[in-house]
């Protein structure tokens, strides 16, 4: 079962964040975290961590952002993106994704569809 994409961003400390999911190859789950930023924030890969719990198990990170500044896309505001891939050899159902940005944390329940 594919996890759902949360509908609403949450505040992780000083940053609004929201994850999105994608099917990864080789029994893995891709998680992309969008982080609303200001130009001056200059988020680096080390500023962000993401944990994915599936059926009570913390999945292992297989890929994470490359060292250095996170890629960004700007409209009126800007979002930085942290792309992760988690190994999921047992095809567990993702339940919770926890995003930490510079010490602030937000947890998203991704186990059931949002009405």
């Amino acid at each position: 079962m594919s996890p759902v994409d949360p509908e609403e961003p949450q505040a992780a400390g000083d940053f609004w964040v929201v994850p999105a999911f994608g099917e990864g190859a080789d029994d893995s789950v891709r998680v992309t975290v969008a982080i609303a930023v200001d130009e001056s924030d200059g988020l680096q890969d080390t500023d962000v961590t993401v944990e994915l719990l599936a059926d009570g198990t913390a999945l292992t990170v297989a890929e994470q952002p490359a060292a250095g500044p996170l890629p960004t896309i700007g409209l009126a505001g800007a979002n930085a993106y942290a792309l992760y891939r988690f190994d999921n050899p047992d095809r567990l159902t993702p339940a919770t994704v926890t995003v930490t940005v510079r010490g602030g944390t937000a947890a998203f329940d991704v186990s059931s569809p949002v009405a």
Binding site: D5, W16, V18, A36, T72, A76, G77, Y81
Partner: protein
């Protein structure tokens, strides 16, 4: 194309909303709704001003000034608000150019539409330089009979109300009579004064029972683009580079000019920008958290709707700062005149002043930035609109375009 205009007639504790269609000449009143109590229709009005104002006049910066006795209220036509912490306030404190006799109370006021306003009190009047906040005290107060020599005797002793109709005419009311004044020719048109009840002249007022002794008449401000807005101007839907880092995106300019002659007030005109579309980073579709403030939670940009959808999925691309205490306060907000940075953002400016400037200039450079080797795809629709915030956000202009760019 000329837009319908609105004029308000005030008398006692009531008012009538008078609609004018310049295209057809039709003048109408919704008789099911008017006359209506000022206290009901002007919710922000301080209680003393909901009964029998003396005078009201629109100002070029989008404020409307109501006068009663020695006090006045500044009404913000852009959001129908009054700063209750400051108003009502003494005329004498904030209108130092007015002679003391006028600061004690004003009978009528009219914006002449050329940078001047006239204030009337008894048999006297003053000419007010709006830009300079100046009255030439060597000339004014002056007898109405001297400055307006073809006014009939009854009007030389004072006027109840005056309004610039915005079509080259001004109307002066006294008791149950009125004058039609040719602004360009500086003369009363032949055949006046006439009673308000003269057949075929003010039938809608007669039907509303508003035929005499107006407190004053207000031509409500509105926004009118001076010419079709150039939005977007200089559209570059895609430019990209891959070294030394990756940049991928579009660029466009925004330009609108508003008329500046009562009833057209630049402060009423604002730009709004909306977005929808799809983004990818590293070949993964990604969400985008819109820059919003004054909301519990910012929203995500939405995708293009599917066939048959009733919702176009456009959401505003940045909203005005609504709460200075919000640490997520937005300062980059396309087109909102009340953006907290004022004109500090060179990509989003009203010239010469943000509050009242007649010219809007903006630039947007939506795009992506990443290390060499990054993959991005941007496919975003933009909708630009010019709106009249003094009249319910009426859309005066709209256009849509797309920034579509991909790298590598």
């Amino acid at each position: 194309m000329a837009r319908a205009r609105t004029v308000f007639f005030f008398r006692g504790g009531s008012y009538v909303r008078y609609e004018i269609d310049p295209a057809t000449g039709a003048e109408t009143v919704d008789h099911g709704s008017y006359p209506r109590a000022v206290a009901d229709g002007w919710a922000a009005m301080p209680a003393p001003f909901a009964q029998s104002i003396d005078a009201v006049v629109p100002w070029p910066d989008g404020f409307v000034y109501f006068f009663k006795g020695p006090q006045y209220v500044r009404w913000d036509a852009t959001d129908n608000s009054v700063d209750a912490s400051f108003y009502p306030h003494d005329i004498a404190d904030q209108w130092p150019a007015l002679p003391a006799s006028f600061a004690a109370g004003i009978d009528a006021a009219v914006n002449w539409g050329d940078g001047r306003a006239f204030f009337f009190k008894g048999s006297k009047y003053v000419r007010y330089d709006i830009a300079q906040d100046f009255v030439d005290r060597t000339l004014y107060p002056r007898d109405i009979g001297d400055g307006w020599p073809d006014f009939p005797a009854a009007f030389r002793t004072g006027v109840d109300a005056a309004v610039n109709w915005g079509n080259g005419s001004a109307y002066f009311f006294k008791g149950g009579s009125y004058l039609n004044y040719d602004i360009q020719g500086s003369k009363v048109r032949p055949g006046y004064p006439l009673p308000v009840t003269e057949p075929d002249k003010w039938p809608e007022l007669v039907r509303a029972g508003f035929t005499a002794s107006f407190d004053d008449v207000l031509e409500w401000p509105q926004a009118d683009p001076a010419r079709p807005p150039d939005i977007p101007a200089r559209l570059d839907p895609c430019s990209r580079r891959t070294q030394p880092d990756v940049r991928c995106g579009g660029s466009f300019d925004l330009h609108a000019v508003f008329d500046d002659a009562i009833p057209s007030v630049p402060a009423c005109g604002e730009y709004r920008q909306y977005v929808r579309g799809e983004l990818k980073v590293g070949d993964q579709p990604v969400p985008f958290i819109l820059r919003e403030n004054g909301v519990a939670t910012p929203r995500k940009m939405r995708s293009r709707p599917g066939p048959g959808s009733a919702d176009d999925n456009f959401l505003e691309d940045g909203q005005a700062a609504g709460s200075p205490g919000n640490k997520f306060a937005v300062d980059l907000t396309y087109g909102h005149r009340n953006a907290s940075v004022g004109n500090g953002n060179r990509f989003d400016m009203y010239l010469p002043q943000r509050r009242s400037g007649a010219e809007y200039v903006g630039r947007d450079e939506p795009g992506a930035t990443g290390a060499a080797g990054s993959f991005f795809s941007i496919d975003v629709d933009f909708r630009g609109q010019v709106v009249d915030v003094c009249n319910g956000g009426a859309i005066l202009f709209t256009n849509e375009w797309t920034v579509r760019c991909q790298v590598p």
